[in-house]
Amino acid sequence: MKLLIIEDEQGLRESIEKYFTEAGVLCESCGTLAAAIGKISLYQYDCVLLDIGLPDGEGFALLEYLQANEKSEGVLIISAKNSLDNKIKGLNLGADDYLTKPFHLSELKARIDAIYRRRAFNSSNVLNYDLINIDLLAREVKVNDITIILTRKEYDMLLYFIANKGKVISKNAIAEHLWGEEIDLVDSFDFIYTHIKNIRKKLMEAAHKDYIKAIYGVGYKLL
């Protein structure tokens, strides 16, 4: 996958680039609208990560450029403005998804993966990771060819882990992914633990292999 990151805040841009590069995504990045349009006009990307508030204009201009030039890049908007109007405007201009700052890199990765899957493999709805095989349409999970039954939250969590395979995902990120931002984190942490325990157990029974590793109380990692 080839990703263009358009974000003017250097610290954030670098973190995103590092995270995605380590996950095997080919990344390019820039901090201005002009540079972004320059890159878009020259190269083909699978996905574009677009910050709306750029120093030389609003990111919506890029969406208009993509539409005008019939480009098919998937676009994820990131914005500091959690405004419904912005969201609707962005989605109407052809963006695929909208994420409000601040966000977790794991959430960003999961969203980008989803866009990429929808765009690139629209014929294939199957996700494979090691012995795990997921039919995304049927929401059916097979491990080692054995169908395992997951609850809705466990299923969501598994997908989230696969999108961030090999990365440590913080409990905060998991909680926000599953319950939204309003959730009281302290209460939800025990709960995440229970869910993780169940997933581990179900995967272990089918694959005879421990897929999830706890990292010092800060988070979990899919091995």
């Binding site: 959690n82 601040p102 990292i215 109380g217 800060v218």
Partner: protein, 415 residues
């Protein structure tokens, strides 16, 4: 008491006093002039009698003559000159009594002194006085009436610009978009008042706008740095060389960052609600929203051993769905968060009200809980959740109230 009424009262009392005293003076003056005139007539009468006696050497007949009643009484008294006095006047030989004026003097006939009394009726002049008094009283009444009416209508009209400005000041809301628009007036004082009020309201509005813009901008500006912190933390935890205690610290930073972010989002939301920026409405069933939220949060409740009991009727509302979801979320989360472990949580929805009831130990301060940043000692929330809930209710014309009756905390929305 109104200024106009106060002024009216003063004018009326002063007018009444002045007119009454004038009437007395008037009466006195007329009386004086009338008596003077009568005395003059009576003097002439007495002189005529004296002339008659001198000429005819006998007393004139005691006659009613041209309304004059004359009598002569022999006397030894000595009276110097003439004495004028008031006395009853018997018309037609005592049938009718009128007020009269008389003069007493001594006439001498053939060395004998007689007291000559000449009386005249004061009827005619009395009538005149009465007429004058009547006219005066009538005039007074008319004047008072006119004054009262003038004060009432003309001055009432004069005060109109004042009441207009007052009404606008009462209705003034700093968050509303419409400015104060005073009536045009020619009166200097009101012009000044209008100018001052207009300038003041404009200044207040500008200050308020600036404050809101500041809050919004500050919150927005903070979100990007928070995003940087979060992303750096997400990167940091990938480092497997970190020690357990460092991870513990990272956890604390995560929690603080998360709170900061929620605080910011809440402040932004509050500004938006107060600015009425989220105002598109839709028709939907509140019951469905509650059921959805319940589905989302029931695990958290189960985790705490809270027994969730709901009695929900259908309730169609026209409102902003996004805000109503936040409202339900805040109240629901609040109830779970502050419920005792293994407690009970009741949700009741009727067509008239929505009640969240959870078990808890002691009452909260009902006056303070809806204020910004007021929260319980053991709460790690932002302190804005209930403020947001209250504001959403206010915007939709609902009433949100809290009361505690052991062992239940109750939050009630009345539609």
């Amino acid at each position: 008491m109104k200024l106009a009424a106060q002024y009216n009262k003063a004018t009326l009392i002063i007018t009444l006093i002045v007119l009454c005293s004038t009437a007395f003076v008037y009466y006195g003056a007329i009386n004086y002039i009338v008596n003077k005139q009568l005395d003059h007539d009576l003097t002439e009468e007495v002189e005529e009698i004296a002339d008659y006696i001198k000429l005819n050497q006998h007393l004139p007949a005691e006659l009613d003559f041209e309304g004059d009643q004359t009598s002569f009484i022999k006397t030894d008294q000595k009276i110097a000159g003439m004495i004028f006095y008031d006395m009853p006047y018997h018309k037609n030989h005592g049938n009718k009594t009128e007020s009269g004026r008389a003069v007493k003097t001594i006439v001498t006939l053939k060395g004998v002194n007689y007291v000559a009394i000449v009386a005249q009726s004061k009827e005619a002049s009395e009538n005149l006085t009465q007429l004058i008094i009547c006219i005066t009283v009538l005039l007074t009444a008319v004047l008072l009436l006119i004054l009262a009416l003038t004060n009432r209508y003309i001055f009432g009209g004069l005060w109109k610009p004042f009441y207009h400005v007052l009404a606008q000041l009462k209705a003034f809301n700093v968050a509303d978009s419409d400015a104060i628009s005073p009536n045009t007036t020619n009166i200097d004082e009101f012009k000044e008042l209008n100018d001052a009020v207009t300038a003041m309201s404009a200044r207040v509005k500008t200050d308020y706008e600036n404050l809101k813009t500041f809050t919004e901008n500050a919150s927005h500006e903070m979100l990007t740095p928070i995003a940087v912190i979060t992303s750096k933390l997400d990167t940091l935890i990938q480092d497997e060389k970190l020690k357990a205690e460092q991870f513990a610290q990272i956890n604390d930073i995560y929690a603080a960052t998360n709170k900061l972010s929620r605080l910011n989002q809440s402040l932004l939301l509050l500004v938006k609600i107060e600015n009425d920026l989220i105002n598109d409405t839709a028709d939907f069933n509140l019951k469905n929203i509650i059921l959805e939220k319940e589905h989302q949060l029931q695990e958290l409740a189960q985790n705490k051993g809270i027994e969730l009991i709901h009695i929900l009727e259908d309730k169609e509302i026209t409102a902003n769905k996004y805000l109503i979801e936040i409202l339900i979320n805040n109240l629901f989360n609040n109830a779970i968060k502050h419920s005792e472990a293994n407690g009970k949580l009741y949700i009741r929805l009727t067509t008239r009200e929505l009640i969240f009831q959870n078990t808890g130990e002691s009452a909260l301060n009902g006056d303070e809980i809806f204020e910004r940043f007021k929260k319980g000692h053991n709460s790690d929330g932002t302190g804005l959740g209930l403020t947001i809930a209250k504001n959403i209710c206010n915007q939709h014309g609902y009433h949100l109230s809290y009361h505690f009756k052991a062992p239940y905390h109750t939050f009630k929305i009345t539609f």
